[in-house]
Structures are given as C-alpha cells and as structure tokens.
C-alpha cells in the first residue's frame, strides 16, 4: 500500500494545453548549486533529459573532457548526442514548494547541447519510483509511492 500520495495540478504554458509538469529541484551534488524547474512527465522517454544552460547554471561543464557521452534517438528517428552529468532530483511539494517530498540518489542524467525543449522526466531515473496517474479530465498528476 503506498504511504505517500500527492496531487499536482497541471501546468499550462502560454497558448498550450495544460499538461503534466512537476516542480523539480535539480541539484549538482558536487557544487550543491540548484535550480527549480517545471519538468514534463514523459512516460515514453527511457531516461530524464536536461538542457544545456540548466547544466551550466548548476556548475557542470556540458561537454567537458572527462564527461561520458552517448547517443539518444528521438521520435523523429535522428540521433542526438547527449552528455551524462550527475544530479540529485528532488520532487517538491505541490503547495509548500520549499518542501521536498522525494529525493533521488546521485544519478547520471543525459543532457543535450541546446535549450529548445522542456526538461523531461523519463522512466529510468524518475518515473520508475512512483505509481503515476495522469488525470486529464481533472487536470491532475497523482503520484504515489
């Protein structure tokens, strides 16, 4: 039986339909710098995906010498080069946003070299930890664990 249950309202960017975005605190475990971001729940993504400037703000060097890189394939069939950086992902409370309700261990997240997409919460690093309900009628994302 899940012991935690939180209901997050959908987030509607300007001119767009409301969708399942969650307030996430992204922390660089080495510098302890962090940033809060509304990230899109993407059950079709194998892993989370962060963008270039977010990586820079928390103090990582995106394509630094010793950074592990890999190739990711998207829906359009083309390959995208990604670099893996370590982060701690914290899920914030839906109302009291200074309160963390769940936190990941230090984990390697794929990062891309542009900023032209929302930050994605994929299955492997994030969604696998929860029972997720996307209620489009009530415009709620319900997380249980």
């Amino acid at each position: 039986m899940p012991s935690h249950l939180y209901k997050y309202p959908f987030f509607s960017p300007p001119g767009r339909l409301a969708g399942p975005y969650l307030p996430i605190k992204i922390t660089n475990p080495w510098t302890k710098k962090s940033l809060e971001w509304y990230c899109l729940v993407d059950s079709g993504a194998d892993t989370c995906l962060f963008t270039a400037t977010v990586v820079k703000i928390v103090g990582h060097n995106l394509a630094g010498k010793s950074v592990k890189s890999s190739i990711t394939r998207g829906i359009e069939g083309r390959t995208v080069r990604t670099w893996q950086h370590s982060f701690i992902i914290s899920l914030l409370h839906p109302v009291k946003s200074d309160m963390t309700v769940w936190q990941s261990k230090k984990t390697l997240i794929d990062c891309i070299e542009h900023d032209d997409c929302p930050l994605l919460l994929g299955v492997g690093d994030f969604l696998v930890n929860f029972r997720v309900t996307l209620d489009y009628r009530k415009k709620l994302t319900i997380l249980q664990w």
């Binding site: 209901k7 997050y8 309202p9 959908f10 987030f11 509607s12 960017p13 300007p14 001119g15 767009r16 409301a18 975005y21 307030p23 940033l35 809060e36 971001w37 509304y38 899109l40 993407d42 079709g44 993504a45 963008t51 400037t53 977010v54 820079k56 703000i57 998207g74 829906i75 914030l92 839906p94 109302v95 946003s97 200074d98 900023d115 032209d116 997409c117 929302p118 930050l119 994605l120 009530k138 415009k139 709620l140």
Partner: protein, 62 residues
C-alpha cells in the same frame, strides 16, 4: 483541489519564464534565454521556479 497553473507572457518571443513560488502562476521574469531569465529572477530576491515556453505554432512530440 489544486488549480491548474496558467501562465501568460507579455512578449511573444519569450522562451523561458520564472514563476513566483509564493504567488500561484505569477511570472516574475521572462525572456529568450535561460541565463537571462535566471539572472532577472534572482535580482527580484524571490524564490522562483523556471519553465520552458514552447513557441506558438510549433508542435512537440516526445
């Protein structure tokens, strides 16, 4: 029941926004780059959460 967070931008070309954590959906900074919006939001001294604003007419399939 928590309400859907609707946000509006003043400028059509804004690609990123910073939202006041304490005030439901109020945009405190907006602009074309993450860095510019982050700097502007930090200057306000308020706690904020950032978000990507997809351009109008562009369809995203993830």
């Amino acid at each position: 029941m928590p309400k859907t967070i609707h946000v509006r931008t003043h400028y059509r070309n804004s690609r990123f926004i910073a939202i006041d954590r304490a005030d439901h959906g109020r945009v405190i900074a907006e602009g074309r780059t993450v860095m510019a919006v982050h700097k502007m939001a930090e200057k306000t001294g308020k706690a904020f959460t950032m978000a990507f604003v997809p351009p109008k007419g562009k369809k995203y399939v993830f």
